[in-house]
Amino acid sequence: MATLELLGFGQNGWGALLLVATLMTLAVTATALLIGAVLGTLVATAKLSGNVLLVGLGNVYTTVFRGVPELLIIYLIYFGGSSAVTAVGQWLGYEGFLGLPSFAAGALAVGIISGSYQAEVYRGAYLAIAKGELEAASAIGMNRMLRLRRVVMPQVLRYAIPGLGNVWQLTLKDSALISVTGLAELMRTSQVAAGSTRQYFLFYIVGGVLYLLLTSFSDRVFNRAERRANRSMPAAAMGQA
C-alpha cells in the first residue's frame, strides 16, 4: 500500500515527478541527438574530404570523444562552460559566478559524444552508396548541390537508420549521466526520490523500468522506420534487416 502511494500521483507520490523526469530525459536525449547530427555530419564530411588536415581533425574528434569517459566530457562542458560564461559575465561587469544551464550543458556534452558515433554512422552510410549512382547523377548534368540533395542525402539517411537507432539507444543511456549537473531528468529524479524516502531499491528499480520502456519503445520505432526505408531494397535484404 505504502509503495503504491509513493509511486502514485497523490500528495506524497512521486508519480508525476517521475513522469515529468521521463519526458525531460526524452527531451534532453532528442536535443543531444540533434546536436550530434550536426556535429556528426560536419565530422563525417571532414573525414571524407580527402584533405589531410580535415581528415586528421576528424580522426582526432572521433578518437577522443569515443575514447574518453562520458562523465569527463560532461565535466569539461559543464565546468568549463560555466567558467567561460562567468568570464564573459565579468567582462560585461557582472561580479560572481554564472553557471551554464544544466540542460544546455548536458545536451551539448552528450551531443558531442553522440556526434562522434554519428560521424562514423554517416561516413559508413556514404561509403555504402554505389559509386555508379553518383556517376549517373553527374552524367545527367546534376551539379554538386543537386546531387547531394537528390541522390546522396536520401541514401545516406536510408543506410544510416540502423546505426542511428544504436546511437539513439547509446545517447539515451548516456543522458543518465547528465544527472551529475543536477538536471531533473529520470536518473536524477530517481536519485532524489530514493534519497528522500530511503526507498533506494524501489526507486532505482522503477527508474530502471522506465528506461527499459524508453529503450524498447524506441527500438520498435527504429525497426519500423528501417522497414519503411528499405522498401526499395531487394526482398532478400529485407529479410536480413
Partner: protein, 258 residues
C-alpha cells in the same frame, strides 16, 4: 538533319599516372550516326567514352558537342574544365548508359526517369511524367513504373536506364558496354531497344562486344587498339575483305564469321 555534326572529338589523350591509355583519338559523329566502338579490354574504349562527358578528364584534346566546345584550362600541368556549369550543361545533352545500369536505388523507375527533366532541366513535373510514361512504354516496362530498381531484372533495369537517358532529349547517346553485365538471355531485349532507337535516327556511340549489333545496326565501326584507332569504316568494309590484320584477329576471338 543529316550532315550536322553532333559530336566532334579531336586528338584526345588520357594518362593515368605514367600510363597513357589514350594516345590521341579523333572521331566525328553526324546526326543519325550509329558508331560501334570495338576493341579488346584495356584498349581504352570505355575511357574514351567517359572522357566525352567528362566523367574522366582528358589530359589533352578538344571536344565539341553540337558545335559547342568544352572549354578547358591548364593548371599545374593538369587539364581541367574551365566551367563546371558548362560541363553540367553539356552532360545534360549527352545521354549516358552504363554497363551496371546505375539506377538510383532509392527511387522508383518513374522517379528515376523524371529526375533529370524535373530537377536538372526544371521542366513542369506533369509534362515530364507524361513523357516518361511514354518512354517506359516504348522500352517495354510501363508496368514496372512504380517498382524499385532492385526488384527488376538486369535487362529491365538497363531498359529503364535507357529511358532515363532519353528523357533528357539528348543530342547524342553514349552506351558503355550496355549488355556486358547481363545474363545472355536478357541481352536481346536491350539490343532490340537500341536497334529501335538507331532506326529512329538517334545519334549513338556504342562501346560493345556485340558483333551482331556492330555489323547489322551501326553504320560505322571503329576498332581501337592500344589507345589508338587501329581502323574504322562501314561494317561491310570492316567485316569484309578490307579488315586490318589486327581486327581480323580480334573478331576471330568471337567465332569469326557471324
Amino acid at each position: 538533319m543529316p550532315g550536322v555534326t553532333r559530336l566532334s572529338v579531336r586528338n584526345i589523350r588520357k594518362s593515368f599516372g605514367s600510363h597513357e591509355v589514350l594516345k590521341g583519338i579523333s572521331l566525328d559523329a553526324e546526326d543519325g550516326d550509329v558508331i560501334s566502338l570495338l576493341g579488346a579490354s584495356g584498349s581504352g574504349k570505355s575511357t574514351f567514352l567517359r572522357c566525352i562527358n567528362l566523367l574522366e578528364t582528358a589530359t589533352d584534346g578538344e571536344i565539341f558537342v553540337d558545335g559547342e566546345q568544352i572549354r578547358m584550362v591548364r593548371k599545374n600541368g593538369q587539364s581541367r574544365p574551365e566551367s563546371q556549369k558548362q560541363v553540367d550543361h553539356i552532360r545534360s545533352e549527352l545521354g549516358m548508359v552504363f554497363q551496371s545500369f546505375n539506377l538510383w536505388s532509392h527511387m522508383t523507375i518513374l522517379q528515376n526517369v523524371i529526375e533529370g527533366p524535373v530537377h536538372v532541366l526544371k521542366r513542369p513535373k506533369a509534362e515530364c511524367i507524361a513523357e516518361a510514361e511514354a518512354l517506359l512504354d516504348k522500352v517495354g516496362i510501363a508496368d514496372k513504373r512504380h517498382a524499385y530498381p532492385a526488384h527488376l531484372s538486369g535487362g529491365q533495369q538497363q531498359r529503364a536506364a535507357i529511358a532515363r537517358a532519353l528523357a533528357m532529349k539528348p543530342k547524342v547517346m553514349l552506351f558503355d558496354e550496355p549488355t556486358s553485365a547481363l545474363d545472355p538471355e536478357l541481352v536481346g531485349e536491350v539490343l532490340r531497344v537500341m536497334r529501335a532507337l538507331a532506326e529512329e535516327g538517334m545519334t549513338m556511340l556504342v562501346v560493345t562486344h556485340e558483333m551482331s549489333f556492330a555489323r547489322n545496326v551501326s553504320n560505322r565501326v571503329v576498332f581501337m587498339r592500344q589507345g589508338l584507332v587501329d581502323s574504322s569504316g562501314t561494317p561491310d568494309d570492316m567485316f569484309g575483305s578490307g579488315a586490318s590484320p589486327a581486327f581480323r584477329q580480334f573478331i576471330g576471338h568471337f567465332g569469326g564469321e557471324q
